[in-house]
Symmetry: C2
Amino acid sequence: MAQDRRPAGRSERRVPGERKPREERWAQLLEVATQVFYEKGYEGASLQDIADRLGMLKGSLYYYIQSKEDLLFEVISEVHREGYAVVRTAAATGGDPLERLERTIRAHVEHACRNLVPTAVFLHELESLPAARRDAILGAGHAYQGVFRDLVAEAQRDGLARPDVDPRVAGLSILGSTNWVYRWFRPDGPSTPEEIGVQLAAMAVHGVATADALAARVAAVGA
Amino acid sequence: MAQDRRPAGRSERRVPGERKPREERWAQLLEVATQVFYEKGYEGASLQDIADRLGMLKGSLYYYIQSKEDLLFEVISEVHREGYAVVRTAAATGGDPLERLERTIRAHVEHACRNLVPTAVFLHELESLPAARRDAILGAGHAYQGVFRDLVAEAQRDGLARPDVDPRVAGLSILGSTNWVYRWFRPDGPSTPEEIGVQLAAMAVHGVATADALAARVAAVGA
DNA sequence: GGGCACCTACCGAACGTATGGTGGTCGGCG
DNA sequence: CGCCGACCACCATACGTTCGGTAGGTGCCC
C-alpha cells in the first residue's frame, strides 16, 4: 500500500500511542473486531479499520494475532461458548420438559438481545470460516440445535407434546424464530428482551404442546 | 494486475469464446452471479470469478453492468419480487385468517426450499447494499413481514388467535422460523419441502390460535 | 449485389488503490 | 539491561473499473 495511515500531519516523529498491558488490549481488540465485523462483514472489514479504532498501526496487530482469520475465529468462538453455556444451563435445571423448553427459549432470547452485535457476527460470519474451524466451534453434532430438539422429544415422550410434531423440525423452527430476533430487536423499540422472550416461548410451547398439557398449565397457574 | 486469467494454456491467440444474444447472456449472468455470491459472499466474490464461469474477461462484464453493486442489486431484487409475489398471492386467497396463515407459510417455505441459493443470497447479502437500495427493494414498510403480522392480527380480531399474542412479534417469529429453513434444508435430507411447510405451518397456527379455534379446526376436518 | 455504415458482444491491457502480511527497529518501564 | 508493546517501511497480490480496439453480423442504398 502507499503507506499506512497516519493520525495526521507530516512524518514528524510519531507520538508513541498508549501502551497498555497485554490482557487489556486483547479484550479491547476482540471488542473492536466484533464491532467492525458487524458493521462491514468479515470480508468487507480491513485490519486497517480495526487498527485505526485501536489507535495503532495495522502492522502492530500482528503482535496479538497470527492472521485475520484467527481473529474472526477467536471472536466467534467466544460468542458461541457464552451462548451455548446460557442455553445448556437453562435446559438442565428442573421442571417438566415444557417448563424447561420455555425457560431455555427465554434465556436464549434475552441473551441474544443483550448481546446483539456479537450474536449478529456469529450468525453472519460463521460461514466465513473454513469448514474445519466452523466444526471445531459448533461441535460435531451441532449441539446447539440439539438442545431444543431434545426438549421437544422429551416432552413428546411424556405425552406433553403432540405426537405429530417432528422434534427435529420443531427444534429448528424454534432456533429460527429466536435466532431471527437479532435482525429486528432494537433496545429502544417497543418491546423489552423479557417481553420478547415470553412471547416467543409462549408461541413455541403452544406450537408443540398437546391441548391437555396446555390446559394443565393454565390450571397450575390459576391454582 | 498481472494479466486477466485465461481459460488455459499459453498466450496463443485466444479462442474467441461464445457469442450469445444479449438477453440470454443477461439471464446467465444473473444466474452465475447468484451462485458465486452464494458461495463466497458479495465481498468475497470477485468479478473475475463470475467472468471466468461465463467464459469471458472481467472487463467484458461492464458491457452488461455499471458496477458490481448493481449486479447484487439486480440479483436481490429479482429474488425478493418473486418471493413476495408468492406470499401475497397465498395470503390473499380465501378462507378464514388461520387457514390463510397456514397456506401462506406453506407457500413461503416451499418456495424457499425450491430456491435455496437465491434465498440464501437474499437473506445474507441484503445488508451489503446501501440503505437506500435496500429500502427500494423491501418497500418502505417492510411489507414482507407485514403480511404475517396482519394475518395474525386479523385472526385475533375474529377471536381465532389468543388475545395475549403480540401480532408483531408473532409475525416476526413466523418469519424467523421460515427464513431459517434455507440454513438446514437439504434436497436429499429426510424431509420434503411440503412436509416441512406443513410442520412449520402447524406449529405457527397452534402457536397463536385459541383452544376453541383449534378444536373447531379438528372438528371440521373430522366432519 | 456489392460496398458502406453501424451495431453487438466481447477482448486485452492497463491504472490506481487497498489489502493481508513481514521484518527490522526502538523508546520506555521494571 | 532486557523485554514489552508498538512503530515504520515495504512486499506481492488482488481488486473494481476504464478504455481503445475488433471480428462478425445486419441492413440499407446504389
